[in-house]
């Protein structure tokens, strides 16, 4: 245990203390292995549980948004050996575990014409790589599974394998709808990968590092002891965050960009021929992807594990990270319950004609910001004004140009 860590409050170092205590129990040669295995287990179990409760939250919130109750029946099963039965329904919170058992016990149907190996490999690859992206997210001040110099690059490299898995799933099913949907999904993923990465470049430009740990640390400053210096509170950071959010929604096939699984158009997309646990694995990978990208958004734009104000630092850093992560996910669920699905041409046009040019301009904006870092006093106001103008003007101009000639739809017969 390092000296820096020992001076931290107990809650801050509790997870690490626990890990070290367990590692000490092992014989010396196995300690290295135990150290890493515990880290991996913590990530896998922690985020799997997080996934389970995200699905409950999503179903309950969507239910509320649609004026329903959502799942509230699954309680504690009655174990016949127990003399009593806990009749509480637990607010339906045990629903994901019931779902998991259901998915595990369902029959696994593989089409006769399918490419058996690829059909099996696709869900494995997609879950494995989506879990790998968590490795570089700094969950707390000292809680980062792997500290890499090129962490951001690693994140996107691990994430890009999901496209390959999606293709494998669509092609190996030997089903027209699967293949069509997979190709369409690939077009969507490739289109939105560009704005996603371009929206992150300004951060790298300003901080001068690809390490997620260093990026979070560079946001740990407060003006007047109150206003946090998170990147979302700068003009280029705000624009980048919005672009990042939209691209994240599209990359994770979330509504309003859930075209790959649009039931009314392409059956269930690349998932058509999947059933049982393999289907659940795809579902899981999608939520892992969403959680990981939200975590990256929190890390890059929302200050990561930093508290919003210095006097709130007594709350451990990992709770701040988790809180922000939950906030992002609830925001995504809210969007899913609110917005309508886009058409495929609208979707690609939004990316290539609107988001990519704005993201490119935003990179220029960040370059201006980092070149004028030494401006102070009244010049600082000029700096903010110019940066704001660089965000708002292209947005308005491009938006006006692209939407010219489109009026709100008038309903002649259904008014």
């Amino acid at each position: 245990m390092s000296a820096v860590l020992a001076s931290e409050p107990f809650l801050e170092r509790a997870p690490l203390e626990l890990r070290d205590a367990v590692v000490q129990l092992l014989p010396a040669p196995a300690q290295w292995l135990g150290h890493h295995l515990i880290t991996i287990l913590a990530v896998v179990l922690g985020f799997s549980l997080f996934f389970a409760f995200t699905t409950v939250a999503e179903r309950k919130l969507l239910g509320r948004l649609q004026n329903r109750l959502g799942p509230n029946r699954a309680g504690v099963p009655k174990f016949s050996i127990l003399p009593f039965h806990l009749r509480h329904k637990l607010f339906g919170l045990s629903q994901p575990f019931a779902d998991a058992i259901k998915a595990l016990t369902k029959e696994d149907i593989v089409p006769a014409a399918a490419d058996k190996l690829l059909h099996f490999l696709a869900p494995v690859v997609v879950v494995a790589f989506s879990l790998m992206t968590f490795a570089v997210l700094p969950v707390g001040r000292h809680l980062v599974p792997v500290e890499l110099d090129a962490a951001l690059l690693y994140f996107f490299a691990a994430g890009c394998a999901s496209e390959l898995a999606l293709f494998m799933a669509g092609w190996s099913s030997r089903n027209k709808y699967s293949l069509l949907a997979a190709m369409r999904a690939l077009a969507q993923l490739i289109s939105y990968e560009l704005p996603l990465i371009l929206s992150v470049v300004p951060i790298v430009l300003v901080t001068g590092t690809l390490s997620t740990v260093a990026i979070v640390q560079s946001q740990g400053v407060w003006s007047f002891g109150l206003l946090p210096h998170w990147f979302v509170f700068t003009p280029w950071g705000f624009a980048g965050f919005i672009i990042f959010l939209i691209a994240t929604l599209a990359e994770t096939n979330r509504s309003p960009f859930d075209l790959p699984e649009a039931e009314s158009e392409l059956v269930a997309g690349h998932l058509t021929e999947y059933s049982g646990f393999k289907y659940a694995l795809f579902f899981m990978a999608e939520y892992f992807g969403m959680t990981a990208l939200s975590g990256l958004g929190v890390t890059l734009f929302l200050g990561g594990w930093q508290a919003p104000a210095p006097f709130l630092e007594f709350i451990p850093s990992y709770l701040w990270f988790m809180g922000k992560l939950v906030g992002m996910l609830v925001f995504f669920i809210w969007i899913r319950g609110t917005l309508l699905r886009l058409r495929i041409d609208q979707l690609t046009r939004l990316s290539w004609q609107f988001l990519v040019p704005l993201a490119l301009l935003n990179v220029g904006n960040a370059a201006f910001w980092s070149l004028t870092a030494h401006w102070s006093g009244p010049l600082n106001l000029v700096r903010w004004a110019i940066a704001l103008a660089l965000v708002v003007t292209p947005f308005l101009l491009l938006g006006r140009t692209l939407s010219a000639g489109f009026a709100p739809r008038t309903y002649r017969y259904a008014s």
């Binding site: 690829l118 110099d149 691990a158 496209e163 390959l164």
Partner: protein
């Protein structure tokens, strides 16, 4: 360390070799992706983190998609396991000739390159150093590569975007 190197080399060469032998084009393409991932693993083994991740991002993420799209869009008929026979002697001959020429060029280039002698301690390069090196000393090369790629992209767009004339019956 050496064992790991042999494992990586086995993965790289094995998947590339099987990719050449398979009749199923999609399987070949996916195995090629595995081979590229092996190259990335080799870079990681050699300590070149940045290059390894860039390799995965570019090859496994992007170029594999181009290959797969090309295979799917150009496949004629559904008989994917149809044997591809060299239909004439000259075809096999020209293939061998081109392969031999390429091997000669690459071999001579590798052999004639003067590699600096290995230093006692491997230099530790951070991503920042790599970036500064690229932007300062090789800035011109980077710009030229970018320009060529942009021209290629524009060319591809021009080739692909063959605008059909608008439907004439509407105008009439």
């Amino acid at each position: 360390m050496t064992v790991a190197l042999f494992l990586i080399a086995g993965l790289m060469l094995g998947s590339a070799g099987v990719a050449l032998l398979l009749r199923n084009l999609i399987h070949s393409a996916l195995l090629l992706v595995a081979s590229w991932a092996g190259v990335a693993a080799f870079y990681l083994w050699a300590g070149a983190e940045f290059v390894a991740f860039a390799q995965i991002l570019v090859y496994v993420g992007a170029i594999s998609m181009v290959v797969l799209f090309a295979v799917l869009l150009t496949r004629q008929g559904l008989e994917i396991s149809r044997p591809v026979e060299p239909d004439a002697q000259w075809r096999a001959f020209s293939a061998i000739t081109v392969g031999a020429c390429l091997a000669a060029v690459l071999g001579s280039a590798i052999l004639s390159t003067k590699l600096p002698a290995a230093t006692a301690t491997a230099p530790t390069l951070s991503v920042k150093d790599t970036g500064l090196e690229l932007m300062n000393h090789h800035g011109a090369a980077l710009l030229i590569v970018g320009l060529i790629l942009t021209v290629a992209l524009l060319g591809a767009t021009v080739l692909a975007a063959t605008d059909k004339p608008q439907k004439t019956e509407d105008a009439a």
